[in-house]
């Protein structure tokens, strides 16, 4: 008797999973979103979600994909690596999404990618720049289901090291980095490699831990060594504080950063008069006169009543990017697993997709080949400095 009951229960359970998976593909195409919407780097996730929503709303208004609307299943990963993986599993198994968009940061994406790979769901990050996100460090093999629509840190570290050497004529660089962040460590490695190969010297390399607010002792130590530039591969929260505290200690050397600096909070925290002589690589500049960029800014302002930053732009591009792949994927809605494979093939074959942040082609490492811009802060205002191609 017990056996029969348990078999029936099992059948009911199995059927319920089955029906869920079919129900999702009948009326709408489910796409998961696994983003940092609260805690430490919430600003990135929130902006990206605004961008994704704007894009998906536009696509749905125009009729969606083959008559079906795209439905976003958004779950917050709380800026936490473990949580990012849980969210990815939940999206893959319980929500039966065709693809996962996000997370924003490298560490979270790497751990979410483990779950996505296991369940064979394509996962696309709009802004995880660490090289090891899409390529396994040990084997050098591309991770089959992991993609990104931004450039990677080798490119970004390269760009900044060359900028320091050639444009700023720097010989001695100091680095301050977050030892608990994959993003920070990845950039440090790439910057240092290129900078030292091309004749520069890294004279100080100082680590700090998660949540640090007081950098004055580290900066005092660096100041004593008289570097020509300070490279700080960190996120916006620390970036503002580092700039402010360095300037208050009388350090007026150029401060270099990467895309983590691209947020209004950096200037708010540093103070306008301190936010000078600061340079960073970014995904896009709102001063770009390109029609597509200006059109996006107008639409974003109309919907959210504020200026979009690079992360909003990356999110917007990701929305259209996935829609483009869905259109080309020739989805049959027979089984979620098969449709995921079709979608994955379509993403891999993306060539010359025109977005707001540049023209994207996915290469064999599942990275986006696209250009970067260098932005300078002058009295807290972003100035477009250079555009660099890969």
């Amino acid at each position: 008797m017990k056996k029969i009951v348990s078999i029936i229960l099992l059948l009911v359970f199995a059927l319920s999973i089955f029906t869920v998976s079919f129900a999702s593909s009948k009326n709408a195409i489910k796409i998961g979103v696994d983003l940092e919407l609260s805690q430490a780097v919430a600003q990135y996730g929130q902006k990206e979600l605004e961008g994704i929503r704007l894009a998906i709303d536009e696509i749905n208004k125009k009729g969606g994909i083959g008559g079906k609307k795209i439905e976003l299943v958004v779950i917050d990963n709380k800026s936490d690596k473990t949580e990012a993986q849980n969210v990815a599993t939940k999206l893959a198994v319980r929500e039966n999404v065709l693809a996962i968009l996000g997370p924003a940061t490298s560490g979270a994406t790497k751990s979410a990618a483990v779950a996505a790979t296991k369940h064979k769901v394509p996962i696309i990050s709009p802004s995880a720049t660490d090289d090891a996100v899409t390529v396994d460090e040990r084997t050098g093999k591309t991770k089959a289901y992991v993609f990104r629509t931004c450039f990677n840190d080798s490119f970004q570290g390269n760009v900044m090291a060359n900028f320091a050497l050639k444009t700023l004529k720097a010989k001695k660089a100091a680095i301050i980095y977050d030892a608990t962040s994959d993003y920070s460590k990845g950039l440090l490695k790439n910057f240092k490699n290129i900078f030292e190969k091309s004749g520069g010297k890294v004279i100080a390399q100082e680590a700090f831990g998660k949540g640090e607010q007081d950098f004055s002792s580290i900066l005092t130590k660096i100041r004593a060594k008289n570097p020509d530039v300070l490279f700080a591969p960190v996120y916006y929260d620390e970036a503002g504080l580092i700039i402010k505290q360095a300037r208050e200690l009388g350090m007026n050397i150029p401060i270099l950063g990467a895309d983590g600096f691209d947020d209004p909070k950096v200037v708010e925290k540093a103070g306008k008069k301190n936010a000078n002589n600061v340079f960073f690589s970014a995904h896009y500049s709102s001063q770009d006169t390109d029609v597509k960029v200006q059109e996006f800014i107008k639409k974003f302002k109309a919907k959210y009543n504020q200026e979009p930053n690079a992360f909003a732009a990356l999110g917007y591009d990701l929305g259209y990017f996935i829609a483009d792949a869905l259109k080309r994927a020739n989805l049959k809605f027979d089984s979620v697993a098969k449709d995921r494979e079709r979608l994955k093939a379509a993403i891999e074959n993306t060539k010359n997709f025109v977005g707001v942040t540049g023209i994207i082609s996915i290469n064999k490492y599942h990275n986006a080949e696209k250009s970067a811009v260098i932005i300078e802060l002058k009295d807290g205002v972003q100035k477009f400095k250079q555009k660099l191609n890969p």
Binding site: A42, A207, R223
Partner: protein, 294 residues
């Protein structure tokens, strides 16, 4: 040498923050032998109240500081009344667990109300840097404010405890709660006052930290709260000058560790210090060894 002097200044600044928070810690412990783990979160609430009064009521530094201190002293009294008082006769561990509960409650409540993201604290004072010795040493006017306000608050606190009636009652309650009650002291009121004063000090520290780093977030109280606890134990928990001494020592030691070693070790050193002091002199630097009477 100039680098060392600069590090010392950095350390004193950090130390005054720890000292201010640990004053409240030490008072509460001294009187009811409760480690108030929610203290660091009251510090955080203090920073947010000042933030709100500056942004929405457009008040200056001193009025917002006073509003924040008043709000937090009421908050402290309420926490005492609802969370700790019902457990006053329970085992010490129950009170400790409640304290942790209150701490988590405040953190998460603030994340719901104000959002989890960090906020920029408005610039309330004109920033000025003073350069000494061919500009090798830089002192910021906010660092001076921080130090002066800390010292003033400590002097006021010392005066309250040593010279006023409330202070006398506090000292009596800390010696023997039952005997004090027999002598006609209202123990509940006295404990309420202690929480009010302790929380007001935490609030002041929160506002000053917001001003100094110009950034606040709902979890900003966690680590400083723990550090202030270490500072209080280091100087001798329950002793007001001890909290001050412990705070400054911890700030300077941490700064020197990250200035001459690595910033990654400074938290480890702080906690190692706590363990060491507990082994060598459990009553703290200024504590006296009191023999238990049998």
């Amino acid at each position: 040498m100039s680098t060392f002097m600069q590090q010392l200044i950095n350390g004193i600044t950090l130390g005054s923050i720890y000292a201010l928070i640990s004053l409240g810690y030490t008072m509460v412990y001294g009187i009811i032998k409760l480690i108030n783990f929610a203290h660091g979160d009251i510090f955080m609430v203090g920073a947010y109240i000042a933030y709100l009064s500056v942004t929405y009521l457009k008040l200056g530094l001193i009025p917002s500081l006073i509003i924040s201190m008043m709000f937090c002293s009421i908050l402290g009294m309420l926490i005492e009344k609802f969370a700790y008082k019902p457990l006053r006769n329970s085992p010490r561990i129950s009170a400790l667990i409640t304290a942790i509960g209150v701490s988590l409650l405040l953190e998460n409540l603030m994340q719901i109300v104000m959002g989890a993201d960090s906020r920029v604290f408005p610039r309330l004072v004109d920033e000025k840097n003073y350069h000494l010795f061919q500009s090798k040493i830089v002192i910021n006017n906010k660092q001076i404010y921080l130090l002066i306000i800390t010292i003033i608050l400590m002097i006021i606190l010392n005066f309250v405890v040593k010279r006023t009636k409330v202070g006398k009652a506090m000292r009596a309650v800390s010696q023997d709660m039952d005997a004090a009650r027999l002598m006609g002291i209202n123990v509940d009121t006295t404990i309420s006052y202690t929480f009010a004063i302790g929380s007001a000090l935490a609030a002041a520290a929160g506002v000053l930290v917001g001003l100094y780093y110009n950034t606040i977030n709902p979890l900003m109280g966690v680590l400083p709260g723990l550090k202030a606890f270490i500072a209080a134990v280091f100087g001798g928990i329950g002793i007001i000058p001890g909290a001050m001494l412990g705070g400054f020592s911890l700030g300077i030691i941490e700064t020197l560790v990250s200035g001459y070693g690595s910033s990654m070790y400074k938290d480890a050193v702080a906690f190692a210090l706590l363990i060491l002091i507990l082994i060598i002199k459990p009553s703290g630097l200024l504590g006296k060894n009191i023999k238990e009477k049998v």
